[in-house]
Amino acid sequence: IAPVRFDREKVLRVKPQDEKQANLIKDLAQTNQLDFWYPDAAHHVAPNMTVDFRVSEGESQSIQSALDQNQMHYEILIHNLQEEIEKQFDVKED
């Protein structure tokens, strides 16, 4: 099996301000393949919590649009996950 690649996948950060925004994130998780980095899972998302999640290249546009439409501020922590995976090996010498 070929290893999974994460080309152009993003990691987004949001901070839901209220229950409505927290529920938006949970709803997006139901209809998209979001990988939650923090918290561990969508059902833990709560208001005023910093939430980090990974989104595929194909879904990132629609996710970002949904956040924009709901006036939910987001930050792109990682723009291309595959590049960061390769960059983690930044020490060459022992």
Partner: protein, 308 residues
């Protein structure tokens, strides 16, 4: 041959196995390797016992790598063993600790998941159990301990990242660790588990908002140890009970160990706070490990001095 092990790099499983052999060979008077069981895919689960050979002494059990993608966690366990062996006889604190207590270090708890994260999917978290009647693999080992195991919803779907498994301690990895700890309960006086990320030091409980009877003491230890950690590079940690500091969880190793009777249990979530997350660059391994050593050594010192 697995290639050269390095404390400043992430090491794959083969390198870690080879490293355990080397540590035992190099420090036979201080390091022994115990096979405590095997994984779902029949890989060995190795605990390194650090310290003199006396089983009756106080001991601290520390595990790393419950969640496969948290690579800084096994890196820390390897660093800890390295520092213990390198500084014994030279560093006053380490010498005192190892003269009077033992450490049981499990460098990789979730071996199959760790291997999978190296070879197939860097984002893998769970173990590699085949789930009955499901196309999805894996159980979250940190939801699989027998403490309020099925009391929370949303942990029953095998396709989710926080799947608790078909039964408490259903996973071979969990069972091997719980059996080991139970069999050594007369000596184990503290339990430390290492995760990443978010820079938090967690205390019991996760499954309830109630505080354990010695919460004040645990919070005091957490405060001092995170203060100690920050002295190195000014890395800031927060601390507190799992349920109120992050979110309620069930089936965690921390709560299980506490309820078993180990009244000093701590879970570290190491660097960073999200800039790299699970992909902490190798250049940050050494500073992360150095600062975390300060916290762990403080906890060990406290245990040595204040527990019977």
């Amino acid at each position: 041959t697995p290639g050269r092990h390095s404390y400043a790099k992430y090491n794959n499983w083969d390198k870690i196995v080879s490293w355990t052999e080397k540590m035992v060979h190099k420090h036979p008077e201080m390091v022994s390797r115990i096979k405590i069981g095997t994984t779902v895919e029949d890989n060995p689960l190795y605990v390194l016992k650090i310290g003199k050979k006396d089983e009756r002494r106080k001991a601290i059990f520390m595990d790393c790598g419950i969640h496969a993608r948290e690579w800084i966690s096994p890196a820390f366990c390897q660093w800890f063993v390295y520092q213990a062996t390198k500084t014994y006889g030279k560093n006053k604190i380490m010498t005192k600790l190892l003269d009077q207590m033992n450490f049981y270090v499990l460098p990789v708890f979730n071996v199959d998941g760790y291997i999978w994260s190296w070879t197939q999917n860097r984002m893998w978290r769970k173990n590699r159990s085949k789930n009955q009647n499901s196309k999805c693999f894996g159980t979250d080992l940190n939801r699989n301990f027998n403490v309020s195991w099925n009391s929370f919803p949303n942990t029953e779907n095998p396709c989710t990242e926080t799947y608790r498994g078909p039964a408490p301690e259903s996973e071979k990895e969990t069972k091997a660790v719980t059996d080991f700890i139970r069999n050594h309960l007369n000596s184990i006086t503290a339990y430390i588990t290492i995760h990443s990320y978010s820079q938090v030091l967690l205390l019991p409980y996760g499954y309830t908002a109630e505080l354990p009877p010695n919460h004040k003491e645990l919070a005091k230890i957490a405060k001092i140890s995170t203060d100690a950690l920050s002295t190195r590079y000014e890395t800031r940690y927060i601390y507190g009970p799992i349920a109120s500091t992050i979110y309620p969880t069930s089936g965690s190793s921390l709560d299980w160990a506490y309820n078993l009777g180990i009244k000093h249990t701590f879970a570290f979530e190491l660097r960073d706070k999200g800039k790299f997350g699970f992909l902490l660059p190798q250049s940050q391994i050494k500073p992360t490990c150095k600062e975390t050593m300060l916290a762990v050594k403080f906890i060990a010192k406290y245990i040595l001095k204040h527990t019977s």
